[in-house]
Amino acid sequence: MSDRALQHRRVHNLLLIQKLLSSRDASSPFTLVLDSVEQSAGPLVRHYIHHAKASKMDVVFVSYESLKPPADVTALIKARGKDPSAVRKEIERCVSSSRRTLLILDSLYPLTTHPSLPLSSFLSSLPSPTTSLLAIYHTDVPLPSPSLSSSTLTNTTTTGSIYTPSPLTLLRYLATTVLTTHSFSQMLARKRAKEKSRPDPLFGTDEGKEGVLVGVGANDKRGCVVEMEHRRKSGRGVEEWFFLPEVNGSGAVVLLEDQELYRRSDDREGRSDGVEARVELATFELGLTAKQRRDREGVVLPYFDAQKEEGGGGGRILYDMGVEDDFDEEEDEI
């Protein structure tokens, strides 16, 4: 990727995520957050609340599973065990039409498993011109398989018919923005592995180990990685990866590529947090310095030359001696 393209993304996409986080200009009426036990949506939600507070928005938090709501919430609706229609009434009471409001649903599981709720019409009834909806879906919580009996013709409104799309498919379709959270330290480990052409490390239930639910490096304290899929009003889609530091910590939202630890290709940082195995305890240096790497990239290999029109100079080795080279007149020849 050229520097200019990166610079363009840096400017535009960072602006976009800031706009999304502060729910400005009704940029995304329905934001779907896909999280997992490896990285919960918590830090992302705190960013949203932080920004909403800064721009004097109301925050209405609908709690299905959280016992302790996040700080700085304007109104809390305890939805556990309540019927969706009752929840909607409470939401309507809490949301004033004159103020911009961020409405947060902490889990979509109760709605997606509801036996008779038309999910799409329920959700689309929630956002209004002044309200934006942020809803969290846990990707690692499986939904009951659609029962065959409910797919009868008379019962078309029910969810879970085998002919209707799965709730997740439906949600992704309805959402204007889909944000997927990833663990920062696991992303680092993946990148390090890729750089060394090692197979992708697996985490949590993917590890294939009996009894392992959560991977090493889950819910990293330093921040979380967010994968964004945003549909612009023009219909164009934007995809980007961001790094969000903890709200109260220092540092701002950056592109994942610009994240200092992520950008570095040596695995010092990875090692210090224990994600990478402690390998290479050799007494000599195996890594390259920045200058060495630049020099290496600058070397023109013979076959590049040979591919030129005239075939170059045949089997010449194009190499310019540097001061580092220990040239031996008798043994080496150029």
Binding site: D35, V37, S40, A41, G42, P43, R46, E65, S66, L67, K68, P70, R80, G81, S107, Y109, P110, T113, H138, D140, V141, P142, L143, P144, S145, T205, G208, K209, E210, G211, V212, L213, V214, G215, V216, G217, A218, N219, K221, E246
Partner: protein
């Protein structure tokens, strides 16, 4: 067991510093059970005073008081808990034990409502004396009920949520074997996975035990992985992620140690 402390030093920060309203999830596999861990939680809880870190709800003033425990077990009988607990010096005056293996709590016609009623009653009985005792709720094998009855996962989760509102903190022990939590296909498996993963999303920390990945060894019983849950990092004792080995002797004594130590 004079050779080892009752509560392994490596574990003690995870056993006692669970803040108010927190949920701790313990997961086990067939060959690696969490009973020893539950017993250590009971032990540590009874030793600590009711002014845990981050204590900011329910009660804001007053002297520290003893913590009390309501332990409900669907897979192990009361005699077993008492006998194992006695060896650790657990005072069962402060533990309300519901032997749901013997009384089949929740298996009757009353279903989930029975379970809730029985636990609420137990919580109430432990709460009253001095105008507020800290009750810690421990549920062992609730996932069995889910498998045997085929109830809705949501109903179970809602009940747990409601119970959690009435206690200081909650500890839940479930199975997390591969057939029950990975690539589920049957309704039983899907329910189990949904149940366990939902709890994992709500938990402050997840303590998973499993057998050794490399097979069996004479001096290692299994691996314990402590993972950080979704809860926000605060200054107070944050969950520190780690993986260590443990050994449970035939006398019930436990050693927890680092890999390679």
């Amino acid at each position: 067991m004079p050779s080892q402390p009752l509560i392994p030093p490596l574990l003690s920060p995870n056993l006692s510093a669970h803040p108010c309203t927190s949920l701790t999830l313990l997961t086990s596999t067939l060959g690696a059970t969490t009973n020893w861990l539950v017993l250590r939680f009971v032990c540590a809880t009874l030793k600590s005073k009711g002014y845990g870190t981050g204590h900011d709800c329910h009660i804001t003033q007053g002297d520290p008081f003893d913590q009390r425990i309501v332990l409900v077990s669907w897979l192990r009988d009361g005699a077993w808990w008492r006998e194992s607990g006695r060896k650790l010096g657990i005072d069962f005056q402060r533990v309300h034990l519901i032997d749901a293996l013997s009384n089949g709590l929740g298996m009757g016609a009353g279903g989930l409502a029975d379970v809730k009623k029985a636990i609420m009653k137990a919580i109430g009985s432990k709460k009253t004396p001095t105008g507020g005792g800290n009750v810690i709720l421990m549920l062992d094998g609730l996932d069995f009920l889910l498998a045997a009855t085929g109830w809705e996962v949501l109903g179970m989760l809602d009940m747990i949520g409601e119970l959690r509102e009435h206690v200081y903190s909650t500890i839940i022990a479930t199975a997390a074997d591969m057939p029950l939590s990975q690539s589920p296909t049957t309704p039983l498996e899907i329910s189990h996975t949904a149940f366990v993963m939902s709890l994992a999303h709500q938990a402050r920390s997840i303590l998973s035990v499993r057998g050794l990945d490399t097979g069996v060894a004479k001096d290692v019983s299994g691996v314990l992985r402590i993972s950080k849950g979704a809860e926000e990092s605060r200054d107070e004792g944050d969950v520190e992620e780690r993986e260590c080995l443990y050994y449970v002797g035939s006398d019930g004594g436990v050693k927890v140690f680092e890999r390679g130590a």
